[in-house]
Amino acid sequence: MLRIEDLHAEIDGKPILKGLSLTVNAGEVHAIMGPNGAGKSTLGYVLGGRAAYEVTAGSVSLEGDDLLEMEAHERAAAGLFLGFQYPVEIPGISNLHFLREALNSQRRARGEAPLSGAEFLKVARAQAAALGMDAEMLKRPVNVGFSGGEKKRNEMVQMGILDPRIAVLDETDSGLDIDALRIVGDGINRIMRAPDKAVVLITHYQRLLDYVRPDFVHVLADGRIIRSGGPELALELEREGYGAIAA
């Protein structure tokens, strides 16, 4: 589904990704773990298509299409969802309005009919309820005044509404308490655990992996994947630290 080959990327002339390769097949959950500064968030932004990051070498394809040739919004329409480590506050725009416009932009790009207000509201309410988010929060400006945990929950509500084929989730577990962690973990499983979908979980800690069981775990250090394994690798990392693995 997603194939990353020898990816090199930099920001402001500073190389961050230095030859990263990763293949994610449909039905798989991959966890990417690594110390601060390894390039985890950069990987998310490069896949999402943030303009400030420049790809200097390598390739990324999604279902055989060249992802790097697409604008950020085209990647979303192609089925990619980027969960932000720090979801952005946008005063003056309600969650509902924003998500309806976003979803309908994606649908139009795919040649599907846009959802009516009533149809959309039904989907949005169902997703909010499934993630334990008060439906009133859908009417509030995007992430404004939300706690860290509420913002992450809102990311998952968005993912549920947009229903992507592949989700790249950047530190979705940070800022969550134990209960919220379980709700978010259940949400990821419910929305994304399907034979035709895939997840790349970028995380610093093993704890989210107790809820979302990865099929593969990769260690990212200094811009490339230095080790790959099964779920046991996450436990080994937790036990021995990144230093021991990266050495």
Binding site: E71, H73, A76, I90, I93
Partner: protein, 357 residues
């Protein structure tokens, strides 16, 4: 005729006086259609074409048309002396939303207006400007104790220059709330002097100026507090595209005895292109020692982080920019209380964004 101001005068340095001169020397032409300019409602409706009242197109209700000789020292306001419109309401009287459409076809036209509300009277007036040429207005407002006036004014002229001068006296516990939207292609100057003369009076004058091409629009508003417990609000937003310039000058004066004044002044500019200009000139002059005057003035571009967030959810760049810009402008337009009026103004801003982005 009175001497026109020049850019050498501090209060007029950002005014596009060249556009004014060019507009007044154009020839009269045909009038644009008025369809679609009316907002739903059964209140009085008046049409002025090139400053002349159009009785066949109007249902004036409580508004009368008569000779008015305004007492103003304002150089453009003074030019308006002659026939104009007047709304006088008795104590406790209320009227349905009054709509006035000003159609200009070229050259220059001048019109004075007077609004006098007696104790606890309540009125709401929506004015719309369309067409071409130099359109010049003076509106004199006197609000007695407890009177309440809301004004919503939109500038939609396709070319030329629109100058508006507002002079208001706000009595005890009276309130004036006026919101302006500049979403046309004409240059403009919105010029106001609001004086809160009675205790507990509220003065609000704000809005959004949207400029593009080579257009220049500005506001120059002063609120003077001369009584106790007054409040004022000046919330202005400027959005400038291409090589245009929007200028916001807002001033609050609090006199020595005007204790417990609560003033809010927020001037914010958004540059859609690096070649555009936003000028801000916030001024506060406070002679009382027990007052609250919140103020802020900022100019910037759209937040790149927010833009990427919207794009990552599937919005193309244009609509994403429009959404963020709309939210920026909404701070000012959402001040319009009447929902039907607010929606029409929001739609005008939306139409502007769709063309400019």
């Amino acid at each position: 005729m009175t001497q026109l101001p020049t850019n050498r005068m501090e209060a007029w340095r950002w005014t596009d006086l060249a556009a004014l001169e060019a507009a007044r020397s154009t020839d009269r032409g045909s009038a644009p259609a008025l369809d679609g300019l009316w907002i739903e409602g059964d209140g009085p409706r008046l049409v002025f074409r090139d400053g002349m009242y159009q009785p066949k197109l109007s249902t004036p209700g409580e508004v009368s048309v008569e000779a008015i000789s305004p007492a103003t020292a304002h150089p453009l306001g003074a030019v308006t002396a002659g026939d104009g419109w007047r709304l006088t309401l008795a104590a406790e009287q209320t009227v349905a939303v009054i709509q006035i459409v000003h159609v200009a076809t070229g050259g220059e036209n001048h019109l004075p207006g007077v609004i006098e509300l007696s104790r606890n009277a309540d009125a709401s007036i929506v004015e719309t400007f369309v067409g071409a040429g130099w359109t010049n207005r003076l509106t004199t407002i006197r609000l007695a104790e407890g009177a309440r006036l809301t004004r919503s004014v939109r500038l939609l002229q396709a070319s030329g220059f629109v100058s508006l001068r507002e002079e208001a006296e706000i009595g005890a516990a009276a309130s004036l709330a006026s919101i302006f939207l500049g979403a046309g292609k004409a240059a403009s100057r919105i010029d106001g002097e609001l004086v809160v003369t009675g205790d507990g009076g509220l003065a609000e004058m704000g809005g959004a100026l949207l400029t593009r091409g080579e257009q220049r629009q500005e506001c120059a508003v002063t609120v003077r507090h001369s009584a106790l417990d007054g409040a004022s609000r000046q919330i202005w937003r400027a959005v400038a595209a291409d090589r245009s310039a929007a200028s916001l000058a807002a001033r609050v004066d609090v006199a020595r005895g005007a204790q417990k004044t609560d003033g809010e002044q927020s001037l914010r500019g958004l540059l859609l292109h690096r070649t555009a200009t936003v000028n801000l000139k916030p001024e506060l002059e406070i002679f009382a020692d027990d007052v609250k005057c919140a103020h802020g003035a900022t100019v910037g571009e759209l937040d790149k982080q927010a833009l990427f967030y919207l794009q990552s959810r599937g919005l193309p760049q244009g609509p994403a920019k429009a959404m963020l810009t709309r939210a920026f402008v909404a701070d000012a337009i959402d001040r319009i209380e009447d929902e039907a009026v607010r929606e029409v103004f929001a739609a005008d801003a939306e139409a502007w964004l769709n063309e400019a982005l």
